[in-house]
């Protein structure tokens, strides 16, 4: 909300400068987002008197005015309606007008204009002007050529852009902020004039002109109306335009401007009907009918579903209650008799309707947060008084107030002890009482407790805790001591899963992988691009119902899409040696779950380019085995034993370079080379390897504290043997066979060489196994070892039908 300080000064004297006021408001909970002077740059506007008008020598449609602004200036204008003796607003060169238009000394077709004469549009007092503004006759006694028009018009204003939290509708008005300042500084509020001079009333009551019926008193507990006849619709006086312009409201006509002014003043939205458009002379407040239609002031027709509250004439809707008036019953230039509405509507009812139809107006904004139900009389009298002042006419002698569901002020018991124990301060009984009274509350005390009556403009204060908050924010929190709670809980720190996960992160960093954090939402097209849409049924997918865009509309069923996207982004920016990982959740529908979605935390990593980009002694590119080695290094470092791999075919991955990963025979993930044709769809023209592991499953097999093994006493004996192995053979079988051959004496088997190429048929590869023999009881002799070693070789050759490579 925009708060104009000159507007505000109508209601309270402010004892502080602007900066202090800003601080005071902020520290008591009224956010100030911006402070600015709306008429900055117009300080030099002057009152000018036209002394002489002469034709322009070179242009028929222009005239040259000699204007007295203390000195005499020549001003060129196209406005032919000006007369000698008119008082105008003169903007000398250098003035910045509305929309940042700077006034310059211009040569206009051979004649220098030393500034310009302003229209109301140019100073923001009117939406669209056709002529230079001439001060009206009645002001002439205040008009002295050369005097400041900036001062005369009251443009030396400062505006605060306030951020009012949704619980404080009472602050959506200048009187509301004045009440806050009153509570902070103790100054009292100034009276607001609501007098209606007797001579400006007619003998009849409002109820003689209109019948009011509230069908749904829960949705509309109060409806107050006033009848005014013979108004003259026209432009508003300058003071009214200035107040509205300062708070960013477009001036429309005097009657509507008054309703807007009073809303900004007192916070209660007001609606004005053209009385003569209410043919039935009847107002019926009722819920809409399903399918009913209404044409509103924004020119749009809305179809209603029955939850909306309407102001009707008994048949046709006149307005969507509290939100927007109807197109057909608004104030027009021809309007002469008007009906003023000041109502109180149930906030949720207004909010639902405004939300459903996506309409947000100054009116709905206030009603849905809650206005004061008990200020209607004051508000409507203020409106009548001002309309009579600016639009003439006469008012019915009494307003018509229908209030079927009275809303009484609440009473709350407040305990002094509780105030201090929540706020952590020591505040006295007297201080509490002073603050509450300054906030407009009635206070009765008994011993250490208070009975507090809450004004109805504070719908947010419902409970003792709300009062404690009030005391805290007015008292200030800067004096609250700073204490760290001393109690401890049963246990703290990271749990074993969190430690396990952090361990993975650190190990992957050590293995050279950069951590990434991608959006959990992906583009569903990726599924198709990867060829995954066939393997994961669409009904398992978790889509966002209201996404921002298609690119982020599907909750990822796997981490690989986002990770590959990131690799592609980097690859196409000259980063070719890439190792990345991500740990995050993947999503899949699961009717059994509370949220109907199952979330699983996974790890994925991806690599391409050089395996060790900073090591010039080791120049290998990432390949299947180095990549698999990274995964194994991670798993073995975490003592995840019993890991195995099975060749498999997965969409998007190279059919003969892809494996599923098992831990204790349970599938925990996969690893493989990305199919080149998939990679190319993402502009990646290199070999890429990717793996994804279900770390929650993996964690089930994780031993935080692995068992300790004795350090061997006797030396090992090593024997190496190379085999020629067919490419479609699984070497794991050989490894398992060797390990299982003599569990007592064979400690471990290592692969020390992998070779393809010269001397090896295309269909085969050669691998060298290094076997370590060791006994727990003695030093093994060569003979003992050789015997086992030769048996192993023989049996492997026979059992797997493969040959030793000589």
């Amino acid at each position: 909300m925009k708060l104009s300080l000159s507007f505000l000064k109508n209601y309270i004297d402010i004892p502080w400068d602007t900066k202090k006021l800003q601080d005071k408001l902020i520290m008591s909970g009224t956010g100030v987002e911006e402070v600015y002077k709306p008429w900055k740059g117009m300080e030099n506007l002057k009152i000018g008197k036209i002394m002489d008008i002469e034709p322009h020598p070179n242009a028929e449609n222009l005239v040259i005015c000699n204007v007295d602004i203390g000195d005499n200036v020549k001003l060129v204008t196209s406005d032919r309606s000006l007369n000698v003796g008119d008082f105008v607003i003169v903007a000398p060169k250098g003035t910045i007008l509305k929309n940042n238009v700077e006034v310059k000394e211009n040569e206009i077709r051979g004649v220098v204009s030393e500034g310009m004469m302003c229209s109301l549009e140019e100073i923001g007092f009117e939406e669209k002007s056709t002529n230079v503004y001439k001060f009206p006759e009645e002001m002439s006694k205040d008009l002295k050529p050369g005097k400041s028009a900036y001062e005369l018009l009251g443009l030396d204003d400062t505006v605060f852009e306030l951020e009012i939290t949704p619980n404080r509708p009472d602050c959506l008005s200048h009187i509301g902020i004045a009440r806050e300042i009153k509570a902070l500084c103790g100054n009292s509020l100034k009276e607001i004039n609501i007098d209606i001079p007797k001579e400006k009333t007619i003998g009849k009551d409002t109820r003689d002109f209109i019948e009011i019926e509230i069908e749904d008193p829960n949705a509309c507990p109060r409806y107050t109306a006033a009848y005014i006849e013979n108004v003259k619709i026209g432009p508003s006086p300058l003071w009214l335009r200035r107040h509205l312009a300062a708070v960013g409201i477009r001036p429309i006509n005097n009657v509507v401007d008054v309703t807007n002014f009073v809303m900004m003043e007192l916070g209660h939205p007001i609606h004005a009907f053209d009385y003569d458009d209410i043919k039935s002379k009847k107002i019926v407040v009722r819920k809409a009918k399903d399918g009913e239609k209404i044409l509103l002031l924004d020119g749009k027709e809305y179809e209603l579903d029955g939850s909306e509250l309407l102001i009707t004439d008994g048949e046709k809707p006149l307005a969507m209650a509290g939100i927007m008036g109807g197109e057909l019953s608004g104030i027009k230039e021809t309007t002469t008799n008007i009906l003023i509405e000041v109502a109180y509507f149930d906030p949720p009812t207004i909010r639902k309707a405004a939300k459903k139809h996506r309409i947000s107006t100054d009116s709905s904004y206030r009603f849905e947060r809650g206005v004061d139900p008990n200020d209607s009389e004051k508000v409507i009298k203020r409106v009548i008084s001002l309309i009579l002042q600016v639009a003439g006419g006469k008012a019915a002698k009494n307003i018509y107030d229908v209030y079927p569901k009275r809303i009484e002020p609440r009473s709350i018991i407040l305990r002094k002890k509780r105030v201090n124990s929540i706020l952590g301060i020591d505040i006295s009984r007297d201080q509490i009482e002073t603050i509450l009274k300054a906030l407009g509350m009635e206070v009765r005390t008994s011993d250490e407790n208070f009975e507090v009556t809450i004004p109805t403009y504070r719908p947010d204060v419902e409970r003792e805790i709300d009062l404690i908050e009030e005391i805290g924010r007015i008292h200030g929190h800067s004096n609250v001591p700073s204490i760290i709670p001393s109690f401890s809980i049963d246990h703290g720190g990271r749990n074993s899963y969190q430690k396990f996960r952090l361990n993975i992160v650190n190990l992957l960093n050590s293995l050279g992988y950069d951590e990434t954090m991608n959006f959990s939402m992906i583009n569903p097209e990726y599924l198709e691009m990867w060829g995954f849409q066939e393997t994961i049924p669409d009904q398992k997918m978790v889509y966002i119902e209201n996404p921002i865009s298609k690119e982020i509309s599907l909750m990822r069923p796997s981490l690989i899409y986002g990770l590959f996207d990131t690799l592609s982004y980097n690859f196409t920016r000259q980063n070719r040696d890439i190792k990345l990982f991500e740990i995050g959740r993947v999503f899949e529908r699961d009717e059994k779950s509370e949220t109907k979605v199952k979330e699983t935390e996974k790890l994925a990593f991806i690599a391409s380019g050089r395996d060790e980009k900073n090591n010039y002694f080791y120049k290998s590119n990432v390949n299947f085995y180095t990549f698999k080695g990274d995964l194994e290094s991670l798993l073995y470092q975490m003592k995840m034993n019993n890991i195995s791999f099975k060749a498999s075919e997965l969409p998007g991955l190279h059919p003969t370079r892809c494996a599923e990963v098992f831990c204790n025979n349970e599938k925990i993930g996969f690893l493989g080379q990305v199919l080149p044709e998939v990679a190319e769809k993402f502009d990646v023209k290199t070999t890429v390897f990717i793996t994804e592991i279900d770390i929650q499953k993996l964690f089930n097999f994780y031993n935080e504290i692995p068992a300790y093994n004795n350090i061997p006493i006797y030396p090992y004996v090593r024997r190496d043997i190379s085999f020629l192995i067919p490419r479609n053979f699984e070497s794991e079988k050989i490894l398992n066979f060797i390990i299982g051959f003599n569990k007592e004496l064979i400690e471990k088997v290592e692969i020390i060489d992998y070779y393809t190429g010269k001397g090896i048929p295309d269909t085969h590869f050669s691998t060298t196994f290094s076997i370590y023999f060791r006994s727990k009881e003695k030093t093994l002799t060569d003979d003992e070892v050789n015997e086992i070693f030769e048996n192993i070789i023989d049996e492997i050759q026979k059992k797997f039908n493969i040959k030793v490579r000589m």
Binding site: I422, L423, G424, F487, R494, D514, T516, E545, L580
Partner: protein, 339 residues
């Protein structure tokens, strides 16, 4: 010149030209060996007249000692030279960069997240996580934010199904509710995790990270909230940084605060980074609303507590001077590898 002097002169000449250990060995034999020249002179001693014997003997001994001394010196000299030339051949350019292992980098958000967690771990908090897809109940209703409440507009929410009332959590507060429903007070937790809001521009991401904290105990007051946040701010941003509580509104806390930290650039005097206020907003906080306690079955007369919540991206941007929030999900390695 006598025989002795001549022998020494000859020896000195020969040793002068010797440049390896083998040559030294030959010279040693030639002079000191069984058939060597000095040995021959020694033998000559017995043929001399008695009165000449002592003088000659002394002279020969002196000669022998000199030769031995020179040989020894020369020997050491050569060994030293040989070592020197061996090292020279093995010389390496120590300024050539090492063949480094490539180490990976933590994502800045993950790193800051851990920094934040670690501060609270030192205060004995537990880390609790919860689902990213939540029900309206946990995300809103249980947090004192009924359907009609304007506060629901504060978060524009992604729905998975409006029919089922399932959504992407807009804050990690549901974890607080789940924790309270599961366990009895006292409670001291932080809840880190991903959260989602329907906002995507220069300053907002549709997915970002939060850490929320919850402390429930007996006699917990605003003073405890203040003490905890003061400690947090000094631990993360450095000693001397100040904290300020500004009254605000959240449906699930009462009173509620926005928490500001004094600007590290201007020290609170006001500058461009802090919008000339001297303060930077870092989180929301407050005393747990009694309605929330009632919802989870705690007696608000017996238990009080505070909660706070911060955006990790925001903290990271302030602490590491990152000026574009979109760098975080972009994962450009040229960004990642700076941390």
């Amino acid at each position: 010149m006598d025989e002795i002097e001549r022998t020494l002169e000859e020896f000195e000449h020969e040793i002068e030209n010797a440049d390896n250990l083998e040559a030294i060995k030959v010279i040693r034999v030639k002079y000191l060996g069984k058939k060597g020249k000095v040995t021959a002179l020694m033998r000559h001693l017995k043929d001399l007249p008695k009165e000449e014997k002592p003088i000659f003997g002394q002279k020969v001994n002196k000669l022998k000692n000199s030769i031995e001394e020179i040989l020894e010196k020369k020997h050491e000299e050569i060994i030293f030279k040989e070592k020197e030339s061996k090292f020279e051949k093995e010389r390496l350019d120590v300024t050539l960069p090492g063949a480094r292992k490539t180490l990976g980098h933590r994502h800045l958000i993950s790193r800051v997240l851990q920094e934040i967690e670690d501060v609270f771990l030192t205060l004995g908090y537990e880390i609790v996580e919860g689902p990213e897809i939540e029900t309206e109940y946990y995300n809103f209703d249980a947090l004192n934010t009924p359907e009609w409440h304007p506060a629901r507009d504060l978060h524009d929410t992604f729905y998975i199904s409006t029919k089922d009332g399932t959504l992407l959590r807009s804050h990690t507060s549901p974890v607080q509710v789940r924790t309270m429903k599961k366990s009895k007070p006292p409670i001291k937790i932080i809840a880190p995790g991903k959260v989602y809001r329907k906002d995507y521009d220069v300053t907002h991401l549709p997915m970002f990270h939060q850490v929320e904290g919850l402390v429930v105990g007996k006699g917990i007051s605003v003073a405890h909230l203040k003490g905890t946040l003061d400690y947090f701010v000094r631990s993360i941003f450095g000693p001397g940084r100040k904290t300020r509580l500004v009254p605000s509104f959240f449906p699930f806390t009462e009173p509620s605060f926005e928490v500001y930290v004094s600007c590290g650039i201007c020290g609170g005097k006001g500058c461009k980074s802090c919008g000339f206020t001297g303060w930077l907003e870092i989180m929301g906080a407050g005393m747990v609303d009694p309605n929330v306690f009632e919802e989870v079955g705690y007696d608000p007369e017996e238990w009080t507590g505070f909660a706070f919540g911060m955006g990790v991206e925001r903290i990271a941007m302030l602490k590491y001077n990152v000026d574009d929030i979109r760098l975080f999900p972009r994962n450009d390695v040229r960004f990642l590898e700076q941390f």
